[in-house]
Symmetry: D3
Subunit: 255 residues, 6 copies
């Protein structure tokens, strides 16, 4: 492992600690209570938040709401076409795993009591995949969720004074590629990384989820620490971009 501070060559010219171009286009959809198209470079995910009154049966009568998520990739989001999970008649393990991760990440910044007995489902559909689809999904899902909550408060479905969001949340991937820790891996980097880690953090810097996997050789505590440092900085940048997107006038959209 070489020093992460040394700008080592990445195939697209980024420095080790540089994000791809991140774009968040709010209100990409007309029907959804909150939505955005989030782009991390060529990775493009459509996040749609659906607000419904009421909660699943197992939560009824407890005065708390529910936030959950479903993730799926379009068949030709990838380099070569994959079969649709609906056609195969079952949801794959990876799809389930990522859906659950997004839901947990969002619930980490939700006060379900303040939400009231309401449910918000955030659908994250990957239109194009180039690495980091789960981290883009979490980052965009937060924006769609925030808009859906604002919309519900505007319509009086959630109390105006309630603060269902306790913080913001974003996610980024880090990994060791060719011996160097780097931030925000695209697909060519991801598929050759020795170690791959996804980190989810709140806007105020708390860790929500850390998932690190040695794809090749096991990694050391020092390497783990270098990766966590990179991730913390990257998430701070994403937090700014989320805040900027949400500060803009709502209901403008992609032209």
């Amino acid at each position: 492992m070489t020093d992460a501070a040394t700008p080592t060559p990445r195939h697209d010219g980024r420095t080790p600690d540089q994000l791809r171009e991140v774009r968040i286009t709010r209100n990409w959809l007309d029907h959804a209570e909150g939505s955005c198209l989030v782009e991390f470079g060529r990775t493009r995910v459509l996040c749609a938040a659906s607000f419904t009154e009421g909660v699943p049966r197992w939560l009824k009568g407890q005065g708390t709401g529910w936030v959950t998520s479903e993730y799926e990739m379009l068949p030709r989001s990838t380099n070569t076409r994959s079969d649709r999970e609906a056609r195969k008649g079952k949801v794959g393990g990876r799809t389930h795993e990522i859906s659950r991760l997004i839901g947990r990440s969002l619930r980490a910044v939700i006060d379900t009591k303040a939400l009231g007995e309401n449910t918000i489902v955030i659908d994250c559909d990957v239109l194009q995949a180039d690495g980091g689809t789960r981290t883009a999904s979490i980052t965009g899902a937060y924006v769609a969720l925030a808009d859906a909550i604002a919309d519900a408060q505007a319509r009086g479905l959630i109390a105006k004074k309630a603060k269902p969001l306790t913080d913001s949340v974003a996610a980024i991937s880090v990994g060791i590629v060719a011996g160097h820790p780097v931030l925000d891996l695209d697909y060519p980097e991801d598929s050759t990384a020795e170690t791959d880690m996804n980190v989810v953090m709140t806007g105020s810097g708390g860790i929500v989820e850390v998932q690190g996997t040695a794809e090749g050789a096991p990694f050391s505590r020092d390497e783990l620490n270098a990766l966590l440092d990179l991730a913390a900085d990257g998430i701070a940048d994403l937090t700014t971009k989320q805040r900027d997107a949400l500060a803009a006038d709502a209901r403008e959209r992609l032209q």
Copy 2:
């Protein structure tokens, strides 16, 4: 039934024979051999054509290619969220029906011999639905298909002199709404139409598919004829838009 020529009031101000704004954004995706985002007003469908060498087993060794299609709606493409078919573990009847219709429509303008033993799958994923998703899908799928064939010819996977496309194909819905035949129904019109018909025609005016259904009272031969007249004109307009889109320089994309 009143005279279709009389401009009767439609809720969005269109004349009976007027299409919604139609936009075809080619090469919306980076990986797919051909793709477009097609919009009929607020209806938005992402069409991705995937080219692969070889054919399904039942076609092998016959020297002919295969074109097929899969259609699906994102869960929040509609006004209220629908469950994902992958989660339900099966593809619904309507989804199957439309997938088959798109495939048949495209095959009507394909010379499978000229295609060689190659397969093209066109995925039509509805990002937003406001009526006419199947007709927008067919219209956009043709453009994605044409690009995928051009790409395969450029790469030498299909003989450069071959002409796999024998014509263009497009589709439009017509229906009787509040007693009047109208063209290109949006969702509010579609859900109140007495009769609903989808027409698929080639660029040279041949009929590929007619599917007319009395939602309320049965309809007469005269009404059927009025609807077919509207459809023929609408499809002529769509054919022009397809030709214009394909004439533009390729590989430009949505900014």
Copy 3:
């Protein structure tokens, strides 16, 4: 295309506008509230109407009834055996499509208010297939439906004065075979037809559904008109056969 009026040779000696032998054997089953075995030549479909009080949840409390249908082919109804859909664990696209068509066709002649909050399911099981299974199904399903309604009225489950049936309904296939428009295609004709159309009409001549597909070259408006003329005459004949069958004393059955 040659003139449909000219008797062109069909492989079984029929004239272009001639139906196969049609037989409707009412009350073929002992348990069902209405049933018939309908035969279009060698095509044989068992139609069973099941009456139950109550409606699906989404219809409750609206004072209206529901009519639906399920179609399926026995594995050895066809020339070579097909796998059972139950074994494959899913219902195929074609099966869904035809089930939905039969249901829509029957609902076109039902006043659901007059039916009261009752449900009738018509099962159409193809015992032997030789082309035209969907049109035979619709034609037979109407007879089973009429008997089930009469039975429910006799038992006081539907008001005796109510008129849930507003008309009769029947269906026939037409197509262009070897350049000639012909009526009621059997399997050998159907598998070589250039154009195939199924037409559903009421006893009083209203069009309920038109589904025309170019299997080979697209077809023209003139051809479409010739086919619709043939269909209208064929359905008039089927309407007479339905009326005759229903006029006979009930509860006689196949010996």
Copy 4:
């Protein structure tokens, strides 16, 4: 338990050892290599034997054939409608159990070596159920199987001198109803029987399968013996009916 020889009253007037009216209509289908409609009173099962060259992969190259069976009930074969297994997406336990029983019963009289590497599938579809559907299925399936083998020998697909059938096979239900052992239970008897037993035997009197179940109180060895005596006589009668049916000229069919 009273003496089975004493004619105790059955609800339909039969003596304890009396079969319902049994009818076997051969060649009920035009496409299948062998078929019959078998009726035990109101129970009606359509048996279709499909012959195909080749065997499942796990049997290849061993020079032996395969005989198997699939059983299913039409949704309205019963008093009240049941959901289709295809719609439920899985085959129920009872359906599997009976399919396996029919297959085992037929294989007990098959010399798979003499069959050569060929497969025969016998589909038993219950058109109407009034008790004894599995025993009627086995009895009818044997007839369809015999016809399919004869057909394959006539066409030279099985050696003319081969004797794939080593015996005939038939089945009947027996049970203890209101304290009395009785033969061939119909549905009202079956649903109130204390003990219910299905017996499968060859034409020469060997036992192939015995399945006895105490529905209420356990039963004694004496009762078991009385039931087996009844079954042996009933199966002797069925064997005669099978032989008579097969002796008649083939290819006549239901008019």
Copy 5:
């Protein structure tokens, strides 16, 4: 067939009427209301009885309880690994059949009125299979069921004076191996048996279920009688072992 009394050589040295070593280890699990690990030689089944208040919807309000069972084999319980049924997405026919048999056998000794509106599910999971998994399951399931009922009575969930168990129940396999009737077949015997029979009997000697199948040649009434004699003696031994196990102090467990 030779005389069953003559000690003919079995591959493991047992006499024809000898059980394998049978061990019943009660309370093998800490959570279940009743449980045991039952071993018939190398066959090892974990039986767990789960008590829940309430009954399935179709039984509600009738004042009666419900006992059912589910059987499954671990993928590597057998000599070579089998795929998990959960991965295949459906429960196989054999699994369903055995689950149903265990449930019926237990219900034969249950007074469902005395059980009250409570449900007991007995899960029988085969940890290791060496023939006789269904008979070991029934024998062990009875012990787990008895413990679950005792536990529910101790907790006051079933009336202390109620007697939900009317008898005990156990099961054993018998078969004709190399021409000799033998008791309790292990896998090598089972896979070469000419006839295979499973017998379920109560502690007081009543027959609950007899399932005999000719795997090779059909069998005679004399053979059937010899097998039933062997089974009756074997079940008497199992009944003693069940009684001894239940007499020991509860809540001791495997060390």
Copy 6:
């Protein structure tokens, strides 16, 4: 957060850095090439390694082997019974996620080249669950895997000199419970933990996988470090226990 070194009260009296009693019983099964029953306190998992020659199709001809795993919980392993995944017709998200984690962890210490074109599947079936089922599974699966490899080398199916295992691997859970970092959470601790982390490490101290989740409030880098320290010590203990178990004479088993 208080100091992890201070022995804070745990409900079962353990110190913060104390494992539950760990037992590894090798060769618990007779058929499997390697197997063990691993117990972490009351958590009991049966690990069975199945060796088969050959690899999945997508790996053929590359000279490398494959190791994978499947995890499942018995329905009554938990406090209250859960439905079987096989009955529900699909494998749940959590089950998939853990199966994938076990497989990845084992592959981290496998040299697939040295394995040759052979496949080893390790089934981890949870017989009883009390927290930490995934970490017990990984720890036991390694032992079963080591035995299966030794067995294959003894039988000459893997070259005797090959070293397919490059290291050992074990896993443990850590978490913050009532403000204190603790090791090896049981179910009561796991269900109230604020943060829950699973750590997989090799015998030589490399990190294979880190999965940390904030169940309540996000956690800090300091907390993360305290948890990783605890985990490293716990895994060192587990590594010793694995080595001791594997050092004992093989083929002894549970009495």
